[in-house]
Symmetry: C2
Subunit: 166 residues, 2 copies
DNA sequence: TTTTTAGTTCTGCAAATAAAGAACTAAAAA
DNA sequence: TTTTTAGTTCTTTATTTGCAGAACTAAAAA
């Protein structure tokens, strides 16, 4: 496969990732920028490289980078004697993305709990249903950290196997 | 507590739920309409009642109802000899809301998997990190139905206890 | 048959969002 | 000290979204 064929493939995949992100309500450039970072080879890219690939303005890229940093999806490193930032996918801390969603879920759960307290006792079946919804949120909030722990343990295990096989 | 005090409390709580929903990217009216359905007493409300409470136009309410139906957050029942729709929170099927989010997660996981295949072998550590992210998504997609099952069992158990105590 | 009801869809406007390009800033290089 | 670099912030413009009100539709009631 030629280099230009591969570039086309990368561009297509960036667009596809962009579309999936759009469906989750990401701002338009954010999904494509995220896609670029997922496909980036090598994984860290400078501001200018991102601007060039996306064919977007510096301001749009600057704002979108900030957005993705807030989402904890990307971060950057710097090197001594080099003023450039090297952005990359927060590949080592991706679980933070999920944890942030749990923060929202917790906020929602709290407001639902207050709502339930405000309700009268006149519709006990509905109240019971609402209580169940709150409990579903609670279970998810409780279980997600366990799932993440499970995942982290698997990673460590696999890492050790990789080291042994070297 | 007087009826008007309670109305004020309800209105305040509807706004709070609206704000939490806004933060998740809901359209402006959607969060408040959802909030109203959460606090609605009795739980089913007609189109006109919703319009009156929200102080919004019929068109805005119509579109927002459709949006929340798509999200599987509300539904409606009708009664013979009554043309009105009685909307209410989909209190019995709330887990569908989470299941729909898993559909998105699955789509994302698939695109990440394709992305990983496109990548070269030149950055094995990053590839490993990306593989781990994909696995995290897989675990969540796998575990969420189990969490929902666990929750449903708890509900059934509690229901039986309630029946016994009657 | 005409009128009322219960919404939906269309039209136009207002507000919010997104992007480009210019102006700016702070650090490093010349 | 001036210039370049690496971005950020501000300004303007274009696009999108959200909403109100009017026009419309389909069923039921009169």
């Amino acid at each position: 496969m030629s280099t230009s064929d591969n570039l086309k493939l990368i561009q297509q995949q960036v667009e596809k990732i962009g579309i999936v992100c759009d469906k989750d309500g990401f701002p338009p450039l954010a999904g494509r920028l995220l896609g670029f970072m997922i496909l980036a080879e090598p994984p860290h890219k400078t501001f200018d490289e991102i601007v060039a690939f996306l064919n977007a303005s510096k301001s749009a890229v600057s704002n979108t980078l900030k957005f993705l940093e807030n989402q904890k999806m990307i971060d950057y490193t710097t090197f001594p004697g080099d003023r450039k930032r090297y952005f990359r996918l927060s590949v080592e801390n991706w679980s933070n993305v999920l944890i942030d969603k749990m923060v929202w879920l917790k906020a929602m759960q709290e407001q639902l709990t207050i709502a339930l307290k405000i309700r009268t006792e006149e519709n006990p079946e509905f109240n019971e249903g609402l209580r169940n919804i709150i409990e579903l949120y609670e279970i998810v909030i409780e279980e997600m950290p366990l799932i993440i722990e499970k995942w982290k343990k698997r990673i460590i295990k696999r890492k050790q196997i990789n080291i042994e096989n070297e």
